[in-house]
């Protein structure tokens, strides 16, 4: 026993010694790096780029752009790391943790992008893409502003994104239905569709974030924007507005009336497939998914595809004209030794011509560049959705990227429990409140 105790003590002593011997700061961007507009571009070397276009539908876009760029500059080679919506989060963090960030990397806005600025890992692009610059003027102002932190621009928006309810026009017409304009009308519409033996809304929540998207839109309808923004930050959060519970109760009602089967056991890909196969009347999706869910290869043809904004409850206390969504774009790594070349590539990526390719089928990603879309070549729903985004009073950021990771994780698992019926709205809000308080402490 004495021997074991001795060994344990020795092991703990060694471990503690090692612990205290650890360096205080690992290599990170130690000083802010600002882009130099006068820097000469050296068109040679390899440019590494982490994208979020890893899906079969989207991956050719960056491949084509890279090919065009390297044809213009034969001494340059482009190394693409193409990830999907799900995998890019883990990949990015692994690259950050190992100080291996590529020259150009994908970023969401909000807290996600803020992390790179906090750690001085993204180049301050204000001198080259700031609001008053030539390049900056080519973007939709709101999209550019979304990548602004403390009045400085750290990112280049590539496309706009927002969440809408896609629906099958033919099916609605057959049942004599019109797109609902209030939340209660949506529930009634679901009941009518269910009675006709059709799945009202195809909903897959295995990945947990699809429920977060519903919750985000309902929260901005029920909780004032100022309160929401205050609660995004653990230092000021309270999560005591009654609109939180109201929004989650509405979501539960939606689950009850509008979905069938077991959403928590269904992947979001299976859900969109059910909608594309005309097995469901509606599917809540991002505008960047419009072209994927209805195209010439799917049973649901583009002309049968319609959309509407998730309708707001009539007595909502929040902002009924807000839409959940945000632009998505790219940043330049502060550790890159080819910053001028990376900026040059981003300029090439955000020309009107490239924007038109990106906005048109089969990509259907509404370009953030002014004039970067050609309605004639685009899905009509994408064009109309872009107009709705422009008219929105507020763009509600995604809950899982705007909150602290621990708070976001509580939203994700808690909403799965809410969908599965093992947690009440009050319990979920209390859990989120507790997590936020724990992060603050």
């Amino acid at each position: 026993m004495k021997k074991i105790s001795k060994i344990t003590t020795t092991a703990l002593t060694i471990t503690s010694a090692l612990s205290f011997a650890a360096p205080e700061v690992l290599a990170a961007g130690s000083n802010p790096v600002t882009a130099d507009p006068a820097a000469e571009v050296d068109y040679s070397g390899t440019l590494s780029i982490l994208t979020k276009f890893g899906s079969q539908q989207l991956s050719p876009f960056f491949e084509d752009v890279a090919k065009q760029y390297t044809e213009m500059h034969p001494e340059v080679s482009v190394e693409l790391i193409q990830e999907t919506d799900d995998s890019v989060k883990g990949k990015t963090k692994t690259l950050v943790a190992t100080n291996s960030m590529p020259d150009i990397f994908f970023s969401w806005t909000g807290t996600w992008g803020g992390n790179f600025i906090r750690g001085n890992r993204a180049v301050d692009l204000t001198p080259v893409v700031g609001a008053g610059t030539e390049w900056g003027k080519t973007f939709t102002p709101a999209a550019l502003d979304a990548f602004s932190y403390g009045g400085r621009n750290f990112g280049v928006p590539l496309y706009l994104d927002a969440k809408f309810m896609g629906y099958n026009k033919s099916l609605f017409a057959d049942l004599g239905l019109e797109p609902p304009t209030t939340f209660d009308a949506l529930l009634e519409t679901c009941d009518t569709i269910s009675a006709a033996g059709v799945v009202p809304v195809s909903f897959g929540n295995k990945e947990a974030w699809p429920a977060v998207h519903y919750a985000g839109q309902l929260l901005v309808y029920n909780v004032p924007v100022e309160t929401l923004e205050q609660d995004f930050d653990p230092q000021t959060s309270a999560f005591d507005h009654p609109g939180y519970v109201t929004a989650l109760d509405q979501f539960r009602a939606f689950i009850e009336h509008c979905t069938t089967g077991a959403p928590n056991g269904t992947s979001y890909e299976a859900a969109v497939q059910a909608f594309s196969d005309e097995k469901a009347a509606m599917y809540y999706q991002e505008i960047i998914e419009f072209d994927g869910s209805a195209n010439s290869d799917t049973a649901l043809q583009p002309e049968e595809f319609g959309y509407f904004v998730l309708p707001a409850p009539e007595d909502a206390q929040g902002d009924p004209n807000a839409i959940e969504g945000a632009p998505e774009g790219y940043m330049v790594s502060a550790a890159s030794d080819q910053i001028p070349l990376a900026i040059d590539f981003l300029k090439f990526l955000t020309t009107q011509e490239t924007g038109k390719v990106l906005s048109a089928s089969p990509y259907g990603q509404p370009s953030a560049v002014v004039g970067g879309s050609e309605p004639r070549t685009m899905n009509a729903s994408v064009v109309a959705g872009m107009a709705d985004i422009d008219e929105a009073s507020y763009l509600m950021p995604w809950l899982d990227t705007v909150h602290h990771p621990r708070v976001a994780a509580t939203w994700l698992s808690g909403l799965q429990a809410l969908v599965g019926g093992s947690m009440s709205s009050e319990e979920l809000v209390a859990e989120v409140r507790e997590t936020s308080a724990a992060v603050r402490d």
């Binding site: 690992l26 883990g90 295995k206 077991a262 959403p263 928590n264 990771p405 994780a409 429990a417 969908v419």
Partner: protein, 321 residues
């Protein structure tokens, strides 16, 4: 008489005292021994650098909190271990890992042992080979593919499982297996048994084949039936393989990751989290690398302890011919 060494013939040929004669031989022998150790040293260095140093480093990291974006590291002592105790998901994950290990031992060790004994008891060599091949096939499929296969098999509307249950009049048992907090982990464990069963059976078959036939012949002459022969000969003579399989199964159960990520990603509501997936979520999704390292330390401790206990037990009960 001066002792001669066949490896050093010159050591005992000169005259003088035995002490004087032996000294160069001993020195040479020590030198040879030291030289032969160079390969061991190399192996130890490689294993040390790639296994033991990271393990020790993991303990160091577990006593820190690191912000991966700023690179700032704060020393928190045993705070992450304290947090482990208060984290309900960790306990849930530990329970799931234990369930995984327990059920895997039942099916992949004892079940596979019985099946192997039955297969090896078959008279036809061709049928024996066929059976081994049939049971081994699932093990040749990648875990990710198997996970996807079972994900579809468990689907409530189009899955084969519920359709099969309904067709035999057990439709009342149909449910969305992976979508319910109570059943998700069992669905994954079942898939794992399906996949690992054949591999274990094959290993037990090999162990059983090595048992001398004379023992069985003698037992038959003594009037022992098949069940008696199984427990009196086959089981004790396969003890080392059984011990090895228990270690491999338990450590495997505590390292499970792919199946969970493919089928449920730990959900719904963290009900199917295991320590490996929770570690991944903490480290790579929530940026809590220190806390993730603390979870890794728990996994290491559990598997190390299990392995040590099993090795000790097996060595004590080893059957020598």
């Amino acid at each position: 008489m001066v002792p001669t060494d066949p490896h050093f013939p010159g050591a005992a040929t000169s005259g003088g005292t035995s002490h004087e004669i032996c000294r160069p031989a001993l020195l040479r022998r020590a030198l040879i021994r030291a030289l032969s150790l160079r390969w061991v040293v190399l192996a130890v260095l490689v294993v040390g650098a790639f296994i033991y140093v990271p393990i020790i480093d993991n303990f160091r990291v577990s006593m820190t909190n690191r912000d991966i974006f700023t690179g700032e590291i704060s020393q928190v002592g045993l705070e992450n271990y304290q947090r482990l105790l208060d984290d309900p998901v960790v306990w849930r994950a530990l329970l799931n890992n234990t369930l995984y290990a327990g059920l895997s031992i039942v099916f992949q060790v004892f079940g596979a042992f019985l099946l192997a004994a039955m297969i090896e008891g078959l008279k036809s060599r061709r049928i024996r080979n066929l059976c081994r091949a049939i049971y081994f096939v699932p093990s040749a499929i990648s875990t990710t593919v198997t996970g996807l296969l079972f994900y579809f098999l468990y689907q409530p509307e189009v899955g084969l499982l519920d359709a099969g249950l309904t067709s035999i009049g057990l439709g009342a048992l149909s449910r969305p297996w992976l979508a319910l907090e109570d059943t998700a982990i069992f669905g994954i464990i079942a898939m794992s048994q399906w996949q690992g069963f054949g591999y274990s059976t094959l290993l037990f078959s090999i162990a059983i084949q090595k048992i001398p036939r004379e023992l069985y012949d003698a037992a038959i002459m003594d009037g022992a039936g098949p069940v008696r022969r199984l427990f009196a000969i086959t089981l004790p003579m396969s003890r080392e393989m059984t011990g090895l399989m228990v270690i491999v199964t338990i450590t495997g159960a505590f390292q499970v990751f792919n199946e969970i990520m493919v089928m449920t990603a730990g959900g719904p509501n963290n009900s199917s989290q295991v320590l490996g997936t929770w570690l991944y979520q903490q480290a790579f999704i929530q940026n809590e690398f220190g806390y993730g390292a603390a979870i890794a330390a728990v996994i290491f401790a559990v598997t190390m302890l299990t392995g040590a206990l099993q090795v000790w037990y097996t060595s004590k009960r080893r059957v020598k011919l």
